[in-house]
Symmetry: D2
Subunit: 337 residues, 4 copies
């Protein structure tokens, strides 16, 4: 850590600061430049995360050198984390697609959708049973009944199920049915929930919050990892900007940035990322081209009747066509799909 | 609701859309302009919130006319909501200050701080027992022990206690000790938590999420209200922008905008809003001048030793001086403090 | 245009507003719903752009129906605009790459770079002679000398030259040497400059401002078009968001959105869009996959010695490799490169 | 400057980097920590602004210590810059208000407005003759005729005139009539224009761009200062965020931040900052309370007929009332108005 001091810092102020640093077991080194004096701090600067250094008189600014996360960083583990689901893997050479309806609504539409997803060559079925909805008056999901339908579809079509956890009190019931537990964008910094899924032995799909930085996403992954669960899939799903033509701005640069910083697999959700079904096709292709390990795509057998996010869902036929085209893009960059 | 149709919309497309609207019990009216045809929809457009209208062929865009919230809007209740705490009121003519440490750390520092807050003329004591921390390695709060210390300070200094709820499993224990339950910025869209506090009969302090719009803040308040609890205090605490000189950008315009849209009291948190103790003074004054009903200010008897947010905490002496000056600003705009 | 009135609007207020609308030659139609009364305005709502409707008492909000631009919209012209440079075209089936150094520095490095760009199969050479630099103390470009070097390289390698115009006083000199005139992101709303290039008969490359919406980009294109010049190439080059890992956030969704709204060609600049040379490769591929008509890539024969933007420039060898791989991605989506 | 090296940096890479730094006349010092090695660079790091350090192999990140601006910083000049207009001063104890119409439209309305502004006790008259308008079809200002009307009003009411410069070719004519030259938000990084006004001996009012950081605003002021003109007034006028209830988000925190970093006066424009006339009153009060040296307020004798920005203009009567109330707020914080 580097502490930049104010031009008129006094000797006494420097001494006070040095003393406080030493009390934390760190070694401060003073370095005088022409315009500024700085203190370099040797030692584990993570100890300083709780220390309000900028309030010390004479301090102008504090610049950390080390990354605040550890277990999820490339420094800690060089090789990609690959998560194995009985043969199908997330994080390997093959780009995997997780598809299905925004929310589970009834057996018929779920089965139609699941069948179509499977027929297109995909193995992961997504579907929400507990739904975070902006309006208290909107459809909130079927709850456990929805989970049961997912389990039925899983059995019928031999797929793996991805579903969202919103409340620590639902962990048990969700674990009974899900293969991957999704933490939604609005819960990316629900730290209690992160700890809970950290204690499970089940893969977690962690979506980036719509106003969270890449660093904060990694810090949230670190929460899960610090409890012992390292099977974490990161998901870029659009961030909030001033642009209003799309619901969010899909930050595809985040994919190569994350691939440098972490060993965890990174997938992209072009459905939520744009909020418009007619944008899913080009952005899905771009996501594969940019290096994503997978995609999360909303498919619905009858989007016009969907109770949730129909505006951004693809029909099965369009989805099947898209998967074919994505396969070509994957090949072009040397991957499978 | 107004539905704008594409220039080349077909008769059949219009019929399909009209039929779908009528099935929801709404009356569509067609109006042909020179460049566009539009459909005006008469009836309760809230029924359409779940309907994916933009996916219908021929639809260019959909523009809602009504606000998506109801109970918390000025249309619904003209008079300001005033919340009474045995005489001291939030939402009345008097600007109230809620002050205290970011987190409760020990009896001595809490009591020193509480004493100073009370001595400055303030009645509301804040302090966190369960803390949402970005890093899993940082101090996470004292838990129930912290709540007990708050209760002791409350008794000793005759104050009301404001503390944060992060997890639905903590509701019972927090209700035992708190006078106001705070929902933090990161949980503004934790809808399950909102429903739970909606079922309580205790005032709720709802902080705006750092990337949430004013409309979303009101939708989250509507969640609480829709369960029967209308004692909600809204809090602006800074939003995320590209500017990095301050931790967040305090959106003071939100105060007069909210006062127009809702009858609920609105307060401002200049400590989190800027993340810098030296910015609290000017921004607190600005918040009073702009019309806030209250302030949330972090005070710590010894910020340099604080385990959390020391960088943005005021010392008791500075706080007492600030309250005096705020009183003058309040008077200047015709309010008390 | 739809004007939504306040719940308690008076008859007199409605009359005043209606009168004002009629004075502009527009026909207002009143429509009473259960909760709100609205006025639909028939006629060319562009006349209302200068009219401060929201200040009229009784008005709650104003919602335009039509797009504020005309000549550049898909409604106005269905077919793609294709700009022909003696055979090589921008806006056609082939994805074109414009490459070269950020600024022209000297003959040797420019020629080396141009040779490499040409050898990779590219036809368009970019290079700045007048440079907009954030710091007054940084290298500001060679001026006309730089333009002459570009002209020499153009002749030597038979390429077309793209260079930036910053000041209306430089139009004549730049026109003497350039094939495409670039309007940089910081000048996207320099309306006087837009008018000037609108009067030329030379293609214009218009970059999106780093905080401008897609709609504003199209309005700036409309400025150029309204003076008679319709040979406009739009360029997405990253927008400003809260994320700091990349210099900007490349908004690839803007490409398909623009392709729907306008007939103009759309290209992408992954070099400025990310500010990091190691991100250019994946983002360039994503840009082709998402449907861009071209790319703008910074190449420098010796980036470590570059006087400007060396951090985001590719070396010739890396560039040649990238072009090869981009060709595969283009093929995968049915285009050439 | 601190250069953080990658964990696996080689000796050769360090040598190459050190050599390059020494060639620039700087002294690198190596410091090995447990997890990272860093290089501290002693000497004028402004020399490194043009050097692409992040492209050197082995470099992880580069952290500047010094501010990139100099002449406008508090380090360079401790005392506030006060700009004197024959007795009335900007930057002194008195908060000054600059008021008038968005654009000059005709003699009658300008004189009515000017008279009202003067009667309220204000000395500075604003009015645009050349207007930057988003739409090419909107009113673009009266040009020199507008300047002449401003000069007439100035003479009649003994005021100082503030008007905007958009094009370097208008400098001469604007200088003939204006007392303060305004550089609008869209031209904050029009570096050629900044240089031109830097060479004048007339105060410049520099507005913050709607997506520019505080640091960039100071860099633009440095451009002006580096040419010799230090009479610069900075103006916060709202930044672009995701919030859509107000046209921009007025960043009042910028005022105290700027007052720390620079000796230049700082004013606030609540009219453009919110885009809504009904928000001007509370935000103007907040701007005074937060410590602004002045305000820029749009006043129009008949906003409903205004050709530009009528939605955000105050009527003379409302303006006079506001000035009275602002005077009380100024007194409350120990200033005059």
């Amino acid at each position: 850590m580097i502490i930049v001091l104010k031009p008129k810092v006094t000797k006494k102020e420097i001494e006070k600061l040095s003393k406080a640093l030493k009390e934390k077991g760190l070694s401060p080194f003073l370095s005088r430049g022409k315009e500024r004096t700085i203190i370099g701090v040797i030692g584990d600067e993570r100890k300083l995360q709780e220390m309000p250094l900028e309030i010390f008189p004479g301090v102008e600014k504090v610049m950390p050198i080390l990354k605040p996360y550890k277990l999820v960083s490339r420094d800690f583990q060089k090789e990609n984390t690959v998560i194995d689901f009985g043969g199908r893997k997330i994080g390997g050479k093959r780009v995997e697609i997780i598809a299905g309806p925004c929310s589970v609504e009834d057996r018929e539409s779920l089965f139609k959708t699941a069948e179509a997803v499977k027929a297109a060559g995909c193995f992961f079925l997504r579907g929400g049973a507990f739904k975070p909805r902006t309006s208290p008056y909107a459809f909130q999901g079927l709850g456990e009944e929805g989970l049961k339908l997912l389990a039925d579809a899983k059995k019928e079509f031999k797929m793996a199920v991805v579903t969202e956890l919103m409340d620590p009190r639902d962990i048990e019931v969700i674990c009974r049915y899900a293969d991957v537990i999704q933490i939604g964008a609005r819960n990316m910094q629900n730290f209690r929930l992160l700890k809970e899924v950290g204690m499970l032995r089940k893969p977690v799909l962690l979506k980036r919050g719509l106003a969270n930085t890449i660093k904060e996403l990694l810090m949230s992954a670190e929460y899960i990892a610090s409890e012992g669960n390292l099977e974490i899939i990161l998901c870029e799903r659009g961030i909030r900007t001033y642009e209003t033509e799309t619901r969010n701005t899909l930050d595809l640069s985040a994919v190569p940035v994350l691939k440098k910083l972490t060993h965890l697999p990174v997938i992209v959700d072009p459905s939520h990322g744009t909020g418009r079904w007619d944008m899913v096709d080009p952005l899905a292709k771009a996501a594969v081209a940019v290096g994503a390990d997978g995609l999360l795509i909303e498919v619905h057998s009858n989007p016009e009747k969907a109770l949730c996010d129909g505006d951004q869902s693809l029909k099965p036929k369009k989805f099947a066509q898209l998967v074919k085209e994505l396969r070509k893009v994957a090949k072009a960059i040397g991957r499978d799909l």
